[in-house]
């Protein structure tokens, strides 16, 4: 009995010491909540490694919950550029064009995707690990690693131990290569931010251009079918773990481009279909290949179909054969 008490005490101590006694999913919940609530101000550096390595982009970020103000500091060509997102609209001011482009915010879509990811974690389709990690921007962190059910790492988040904010993030391809890394190098949290920092005020003589959202995202094929005249093709069956995550509709001129996006939480695969002419554009599509993306194009009547995705070859072929 005494031995058992000691074992329980040691295990409890270990549990408390590592990641402050919270489960990985609790840390993720905290991170998700922080994305919607925390106020901060800091400088962040972002670098892409795929499909081609790019120089770092340095941004001054002011955030208050879902409201963002991003001022680009580096590269020099971007200096003065401002992005404001108030959760409803996104303003992108490009000084040398003397234009502010106004788009609908994508944050509602991001919220839906986060919920989908949390569901996959709860159902065991994705695995999450939490452990103590090195400080980032002088702040204590917990490292959350999201892995496939087979144990392949997909995302790494270094989150603030106190507030749950993402301080560093790495996105990996299904092959395990880092596609992008972004991290704060300076940070004040919580920050006292006046609401007018998110007011879309730009220099005089700047043109405001309301941009039609090029794409509308739907949850099901049934919602899109009445908007297009051709029958939307779908795979008769999907490989295990794959689900339809989004149906996107975009206009090319007056012709719709429909895409059905499937994912198992690790890989993504999309079936595009349109009556618009797709001429010799294959080189552009193949430019995605550094991201382990495969492309196949074919015609069915007057509809051109393109299957594109980074799923394993056998999954790609299985979906290709199942498309009716």
């Amino acid at each position: 009995m005494r031995k058992l008490s000691i074992i329980i005490a040691v295990l409890s101590l270990g549990w408390c010491a590592s990641a402050q006694g919270q489960t990985p999913v609790q840390w993720l919940d905290r991170m998700e909540r922080a994305e919607r609530t925390v106020s901060l101000e800091g400088v962040r550096v972002t670098q892409f490694f795929l499909p081609v390595p790019t120089p770092p982009v340095e941004e001054h970020i002011v955030r208050s919950g879902v409201r963002y103000r991003v001022e680009y500091l580096r590269p020099l060509l971007r200096r003065g550029e401002v992005l404001i997102d108030d959760g409803v609209r996104r303003f992108h001011f490009v000084p040398h064009l003397k234009k502010v482009q106004v788009f609908p915010s994508e944050q509602p879509l991001m919220l839906r995707r986060r919920q989908e990811m949390l569901k996959r974690l709860r159902w065991g389709e994705l695995v999450l690990e939490a452990k103590d990690a090195e400080p980032v921007a002088g702040r204590q962190t917990v490292l959350l690693v999201m892995k496939s059910a087979q144990g392949k790492p997909l995302r790494r988040w270094w989150i603030d131990r106190e507030y749950g904010v993402i301080l560093r993030m790495e996105e990996l391809t299904p092959r395990g290569e880092v596609r992008l890394r972004t991290e704060y190098v300076r940070l004040t949290i919580p920050a006292d931010i006046r609401p007018d920092r998110f007011a879309p005020r730009f220099p005089a003589q700047v043109q405001q251009q309301n941009i039609l959202p090029p794409t509308r995202v739907f949850a099901s094929v049934e919602e899109v079918q009445p908007l297009v005249s051709f029958p939307i093709r779908q795979p008769r069956e999907l490989p295990t773990g794959y689900r339809l995550t989004e149906v996107r509709l975009r206009l090319i001129g007056m012709r719709p481009l429909v895409s059905l996006h499937y994912s198992d939480g690790v890989s993504s695969i999309a079936l595009f279909q349109t009556r618009a002419p797709l001429r010799d554009d294959m080189p552009l599509l193949r430019s995605l290949s550094p991201l382990a993306v495969k492309v196949e194009k074919w015609r069915d009547g007057d509809v051109t179909l393109v299957l594109i995705g980074n799923a394993p070859p056998e999954v790609f072929q299985q979906i290709r054969k199942a498309v009716r």
Binding site: E35, F48, P51, V52, T54, V57, E59, Y68, P75, L76, L83, R89, H92, P104, E106, Q107, M110, R113, R114, E116, M117, R155, I166, E171, L180, T182, A204, Q207, Q208, Q209, N210, I211, L212, P214, R216, L227, S229, T245, E246, R248, L249, R250, L251, I252, M254, L257, S259, H261, S263, S268, A270, F272, T274, L278, D281, L284, L285, S287, L288, I308
Partner: protein, 162 residues
């Protein structure tokens, strides 16, 4: 028998509900048998909804009153002499358009909603795929913008060192 290309010019007016009765009936007959034009109508309706969702600049009250006044006048005249009324209505519409144009010129910093520069189908496919690929939902607005630019190779970079 008109070709689809000729019908296309009436579709916007049809969706806006301002097409005259005769061409509207003819177009509806055509739509019943032409899938391509029926699709164009659906798409135009969708585009109109999308535009309606975007914030619009409200015309000032005095301008709205003048527009309503012109419209009322033209409708009154419609009851007297049909032909003359039609001309009056056309005049009222032209005057309204001129007023709107004048108002637009007073506010040069504002522009109406416009579609994004037309991409090719392949460009649109790449943009859509990249937009949906990072599906964990933790990409903030700046990361979304940079990811698209990195994929389309339009990321503005430092000038090359000499």
């Amino acid at each position: 028998m008109k070709a689809c290309r000729e019908w296309e010019q009436f579709i916007v007016e049809y969706v806006d509900g301002v097409l005259d009765e005769q061409p509207r009936r003819s177009l509806e007959i055509h739509l019943a048998s032409c899938k391509a034009c029926a699709e164009a109508v659906k798409v135009q309706r969708w585009a109109k909804q999308v535009v309606a969702q975007l914030e619009r600049e409200r015309a000032p009250d005095y301008l709205s009153r003048r527009i309503r006044h012109h419209a009322r006048d033209s409708l009154r005249r419609q009851g007297a002499i049909r032909l003359l009324a039609r001309a009056s209505f056309a005049t009222a519409v032209a005057a309204t358009l001129l007023l709107m144009l004048w108002w637009g010129n007073l506010r040069p910093e504002k522009m109406p909603a416009v579609p994004v520069e037309e991409p090719t189908v392949a460009q649109a496919i790449v943009q859509e795929y990249v937009g949906a690929m990072s599906n964990d939902g933790f990409s903030d607005p700046s990361l979304q913008l940079l990811a698209r630019e990195a994929q389309m190779k339009t990321l503005r970079l430092e000038p090359m060192a000499q």
